[in-house]
């Protein structure tokens, strides 16, 4: 019985009823700009947050704020993207990142 109870404590058969939210960051490239989208995993829009754009050597290239719809735009000609870009979003309570490789950018630019 004890064994069964102990095992049961490991397994939650039904989804946990608590509010579950993690920050989800996504960045897409269209050859002219990187569009960053951040939202919580429960679907709620991330209305505020710092966006940091770093290069392949972890040098900070740019900082900006999320728009109220949870997006931010980084024109490619405003940063040196030759070594790819690391996009970090930090809301103060949650943070996450997205990696854009040089190949991701080249693919979108048809080269």
């Amino acid at each position: 019985m004890i064994r069964a109870l102990a095992f049961a404590s490991l397994v939650v058969a039904a989804p946990v009823g608590a509010a579950a939210h993690q920050l989800v960051v996504f960045a897409s490239v269209d050859c002219e700009a990187v569009t960053i989208e951040a939202k919580f995993s429960n679907g709620r829009v991330t209305q505020k947050g710092d966006v940091r754009v770093l290069d392949g050597e972890n040098n900070l290239l740019k900082t900006l704020q999320l728009e109220s719809d949870g997006t931010a735009l980084v024109p490619l000609d405003s940063v040196d993207h030759s070594g790819g870009l690391l996009i970090e979003v930090d809301t103060g309570h949650h943070d996450n990142y997205w990696i854009v490789t040089p190949e991701d950018i080249a693919r979108k630019c048809g080269s």
Binding site: R3, G84, L86
Partner: protein, 300 residues
């Protein structure tokens, strides 16, 4: 002198040929040591299997560099574990046609966990739901993952079905033998409660009905005084007699838990890059160590 020149020229040619062949070999990326072992067994040298996570880093939470991701994106096959293992895979673009989730066929057997509880400022306390990720510690699930890898390497022409099938049969047979051995060795626990230093063993515990309660200690590290105090409370609560470590801690840590009445066992969960590809022998040894520790506790 002339023969030395000839020898050197021949050696240079051979080095160039080998380098060219190495560059031409297909590359397979894996996200943990268990998948590395299965892929290497099934491919048997027909492709390079790379586990890009450094040895001292937890592959579940590895943060790759842009160069790492460029290398991964160009691989011929990317073998994921699924079940939420390796958080970096959700933070990059991976070529969908070359990605295989090795637990896609066994998702109905996942264990759902309540992973993190916290609050924001004055906000309500809440939890992030998660999945137990170390699926391969149940040998029956490990077999399913090996089967998924076998199908993937054949489908992508990295090895022929004729070559892969007997390798898979041999691996499957070894994993089944391990499962039978574990059922016998761990089948007579008589309710001996266990505490694990980290929540890694959910699938192992489910497979063999092991009563395991988990802490959140750092792998192989000396626990703090506060952690030891929490452990003492947990022992009082559960009546635990056995402590499972995922990595060998300092001697002082083993002595500290022993003084609390716990029998120590190191059971490597085989996720981290250990610099060597081992699964069956390591699992066999861990299962035997666990069974021996149980026997010692029963004899006390």
């Amino acid at each position: 002198m002339r023969s030395l020149k000839r020898f050197l020229a021949f050696a240079m040619i051979m080095i160039s040929v080998n380098a060219a062949l190495a560059q031409d070999r297909p590359r397979v990326i894996v996200v943990n040591q268990a998948l590395q072992y299965f892929a290497e067994r099934l491919l048997d040298g027909t492709a390079d299997v790379a586990f890009p996570v450094p040895e001292n880093v937890d592959p579940s939470f590895w943060r790759p560099s842009i160069t790492d991701i460029s290398t991964i994106q160009s691989a011929d096959l990317i073998l994921l574990n699924g079940a939420g293992f390796a958080t970096w895979i959700d933070r990059v673009s991976l070529p969908r046609s070359r990605v295989v989730n090795t637990t896609a066929a066994i998702e109905d057997q996942f264990i759902v966990t309540e992973s993190i509880t916290h609050s924001h400022g004055s906000g309500d306390e809440h939890s992030h739901e998660g999945l137990a990720s170390y699926t391969w510690l149940d040998p029956t699930l490990a077999i399913a993952q090996a089967e998924a890898i076998a199908a993937a390497v054949v489908a992508r022409d990295l090895a022929s079905a004729e070559d892969v099938e007997p390798r898979l049969a041999e691996l499957r047979s070894e994993l089944m033998a391990m499962d039978q051995m574990a059922q016998i060795a761990l089948g007579e626990l008589d309710g001996i409660e266990m505490i694990a230093t980290h929540p890694r063993y959910q699938y192992l515990a489910r497979r063999y009905s092991l009563p395991v309660t988990s802490l959140e200690w750092e792998a192989g590290a000396m626990p703090t005084a506060e952690e030891l105090a929490d452990l003492e409370n947990l022992i009082a609560e559960t009546g635990a007699k056995l402590m499972i470590w995922e990595a060998t801690p300092p001697e002082a840590a083993l002595a500290a838990t022993q003084s609390l009445g716990l029998q120590n066992v190191v059971f490597a969960p085989l996720a981290r890059n250990s610099g060597q590809s081992a699964f069956v022998t390591s699992m066999d040894a861990s299962i035997k160590s666990l069974a021996d520790a149980v026997e010692t506790v029963q004899g006390d």
